[in-house]
């Protein structure tokens, strides 16, 4: 579903001073692309709100455990204690403090998601850019490889790979990345194909730059918008993918944990003890929602046209 987001018209903010999007803006001073993108992004209320919420979640998951009295591994409490000052989210069946589980799960979920997003972006961009720029045999080979990975059901493949190695967080992250780079590769390939027809690429080639230099010094920097947006959205996808895999019990295994695993272990109590479910659930949805909003804001900020469509 990753390509889905990228194709959506992002015009929600629509606060550009320059509604028709012709680049000929009379600016009092010269601004770099980076400054312009940053300014636009800072004006995107939903995205900025999301940055704040996400930052709070990340900080809380790092800082709170330092002061929090209970350890995630401590299973010495009584089973199913109701929420109280001592246990804000109650305790689980085996007598673990739920709040500590949620905090620990959040750390791992974020760690896995960011690792997955980083790896998928690197793999996807390198393969996509090479395929799009070189064309010919390289393109066919990489495209067939993409097709191959697209038809193998990732959930089963990931589950088997976790079984081959073990359920520690980095194995899950590596395996998820292995089966998630294809959409980014396709998007990058398309953009690299159109960019490589442009004069500046020709100029670079004419002045003697080799493939590596053209691709990584000229092509990739010009795709920074697409790459940033898709990398951001890949984090959200990875959070959900990891949660799904761990939920059916084929992902992260104890002693590592994740929000999906925490939910999976406790959701059957949702009727009588909703706090055992809603803590992890709320954090998971908030992470995914805020990252999606940030991705949307970034897309608007990077879009030089800022399409304003009349209906």
């Amino acid at each position: 579903m990753a390509d889905l987001n990228s194709i959506e018209a992002g015009s929600e903010s629509g606060r550009d001073k320059n509604p028709d999007g012709s680049g000929a803006e009379a600016l009092p001073e010269a601004r770099s692309q980076g400054t312009m993108v940053l300014r636009k992004f800072l004006r995107h209320k939903l995205a900025m709100g999301s940055v704040v919420v996400l930052a709070l979640i990340i900080l809380a998951s790092i800082i709170v455990p330092l002061f929090y009295p209970h350890s995630f591994a401590d299973a010495s409490f009584s089973s199913y204690v109701d929420p109280s000052g001592e246990h804000p989210l109650g305790t689980t069946q085996v007598g673990k403090d739920m709040m500590a589980q949620v905090l620990r799960g959040t750390q791992f979920s974020l760690l896995i998601a960011i690792t997955v997003a980083f790896l998928t972006t690197v793999i996807g961009v390198v393969l996509g850019a090479l395929a799009g720029y070189l064309g010919g045999f390289t393109d066919s080979a990489i495209s067939r490889l993409t097709d191959l990975f697209l038809i193998v059901p990732s959930i089963a493949a990931a589950a088997i790979m976790v079984r081959v190695f073990d359920g520690s967080w980095y194995v899950v992250a590596l395996v998820l990345a292995m089966f998630a780079w294809m959409p980014i590769a396709r998007i990058t390939r398309a953009e690299a194909m159109s960019l490589s027809q442009r004069e500046f690429i020709e100029a670079a080639r004419a002045s003697g730059a080799g493939t590596g230099r053209v691709v990584f010094k000229h092509l990739v920097p010009n795709m920074v918008g697409t790459i940033t947006v898709n990398a951001t959205l890949a984090v959200a996808q990875a959070v959900l993918a990891e949660a799904a895999l761990s939920f059916i019990g084929l992902g992260v295994q104890i002693p590592d944990t994740s929000l999906g695993l925490v939910i999976s272990e406790n959701y059957e109590q949702m009727q009588g003890r909703p706090w055992l479910f809603f803590g992890a659930f709320t954090v998971l949805v908030l992470i995914s929602l805020t990252i999606n909003f940030i991705g949307d804001g970034l897309r608007d900020a990077f879009d030089p046209r800022q399409r304003k469509v009349k209906a």
Partner: protein, 338 residues
Amino acid sequence: MNLVVYILRRLAISIPILFIGSFLVFCMVAAAGDPLGELRTQPGVSQEAIDQLSRQLGLDQGIVPRYFDWLGGFLTGDWGISIAQGSNMQPVFPKVMSAFEVTIQLILAAEIIAVLLGVAVGVLAAVKQYSPIDYIATTMAFIFFSMPIFCVAIVLKMYGIDLNVMITDMGWDSWLGNPFLKTTSPESLSGDGFFDSIINYIGGLLLPTLSIMFISFAAYSRFQRSSMLETMSMDYVRTAQAKGISQGRVIMRHAFRNALIPVTTLFSVNFVTVVTGAIITERVFAWNGMGSVLVEAVNKNDPNTLMGWIVVIAISVVIANLIADLVYGILDPRIRVG
């Protein structure tokens, strides 16, 4: 005729990919460990029995001949036996196929509703851009899009149980059945007589179908909205409006049909997501579909079942892509196949 050739050619292209893919997965499955490991540690299992089973699974051969043995069997409908405990050496083919039937039933119902509803809401949100309808639709789409599917399923299950209690309290359970909304796997979806059958069918499928539907719906409505907005800004739409054609007709005849074209690509992109979603939803509602077969096969290290499972899904992905391309051709005469 051209169409038949096109379909055959497309399928022919996917055969090498399926071939290589299945071999790689076969190696992966083989690397996952000794399928008879659990059996070997059990007391009272004779060495002969293990050796015989090992031969039957081809474990005494190298990976390549074993793969071709499996492939030969697969192509002739003999997908090997399942060695999972309690499955009594059941053949894999009927096991995977009956599970696939359960899952496909869920997916079909959910996808049909999701496409129709998603496209309708997307068009409405685009035509009334920045209206309350648009904001509500966008917010809902974002929330469902960001929600893990099992959370949707869990929340629906929770409300389903509450609703069942309410139905019983109202005394409606006498004709709606008790419980009306099945929150675990229904024994059967049929009932005595026509009315009962419908009630049973709806009650049995409603919650899992809705879970899958919501996630897909979010994707379709967002996609349709942006595609429709883009089409509505095209010159030919302005031309149609300038000619004095009524707005409703412009939307339906000129914009809508063209705006549908990109959405068909979503169908194929989305297919794997939906299958994954169905697998997870089944786990929440304790259905015996592809989800439980997968979890059991992975945990028991059951190679034949895993292979059968993966290849069935891979082939259905290929078919879903083909269908999407054919629909694409119907909607867009410029790229009509053949």
